[in-house]
Symmetry: C2
């Protein structure tokens, strides 16, 4: 394994183990057993290293999408939505990093293509579902990619708010699953 790959792996382990605050260039170097300046031989800076880690996160998310059980398009979309929220809840640190514009380089080609692949896969599931379903809850003719963007946003916000601790009013603390059920009900009926 190349030194570059080893650094990415070390950083990812540190991320899931100790949270996004712990993923410092020097901390990664120490965990990898190299000097504090060594990572800069393989990455232009912290943002590039963390972008590679985030790309790994999107790849893992895409793999979850590829492992969805067979079934009707409706079942597959539903499963994908559950998988997205589940990924966020079970990998909070990775999920946070993946959307932290200040820590990564949003223009990084690998990152862009990995996140686009996630969106495209999801949008295709939505397209198939809408092509088949006849009970059209949304305005007919709506671009499936627009529906996918809206639905992705809904899932994303649900996960983000729950991680933030903000799905709760003072006396009301719904689980992400129950809120997700409502979301799916709204979009898919």
């Amino acid at each position: 394994m190349s030194a570059r790959q080893r650094l990415i792996r070390t950083a990812a382990d540190l991320l899931v183990g100790s949270g996004v605050e712990a993923v410092t260039l020097r901390g990664i170097a120490k965990a990898a057993g190299v000097s504090h300046g060594a990572p800069l031989r393989h990455f232009s800076g912290r943002a590039e290293l963390l972008s590679a880690v985030a790309t790994l996160g999107f790849t893992q998310l895409l793999q979850r999408g590829a492992q969805l059980p067979d079934g009707t398009p409706r079942e597959r979309v539903t499963a994908a939505c559950h998988a997205y929220v589940d990924f966020a809840v079970t990998n909070p640190a990775m999920f946070e990093l993946m959307f932290r514009r200040d820590l990564i380089d949003p223009e990084e080609p690998g990152l862009v293509s990995a996140s686009s692949a996630v969106f495209d896969t999801f949008a295709e599931l939505v397209r198939l579902d809408r092509a088949e379903a006849d009970d059209d809850r949304l305005r007919p003719g709506t671009d499936p990619r627009l529906v996918a963007a809206s639905l992705w946003g809904a899932l994303h916000g649900l996960a983000q708010l729950w991680l933030w601790g903000g799905l709760a009013g003072a006396s009301f603390a719904p689980s992400p699953e129950s809120a997700l059920a409502v979301t799916l009900d709204a979009y898919l009926g």
Copy 2:
């Protein structure tokens, strides 16, 4: 105006003017014309100061909610949703700070009460709408607060993804308004 208030104001100005990266304790002190250690006389640390700024943000958001035009409950909910996304898009730095768990203290009482007030206000709008509407797109009997949480998540994710630059597939870049229209269509029909 107390020194504490002046620091909060200075920090808020710095935030909207130069982004969340610029809101450093020393930068705030310099902008306020005091020494670098002075803010610690009024706040226990950076998190407490930034929590006060974020609380200001939630208060501003709540004021937007209070200025909604009169109309049917449906119109009011719709307007509130537009207002939320519009707030995020027009105040990206403040919006980002308000949900950055690493920069603020999520337990801070003022912050909790301000964000809860936003949620409660929104939930009440949703409750009124659902009490009146007869075309129930969602499962009847669903707790309005759960609907509010789900819908808030949808708005939040939409805003967050758009700010992240991720409402776009490579060849598909919807505006937040068009995606919001689909979201409102899904929830409100």
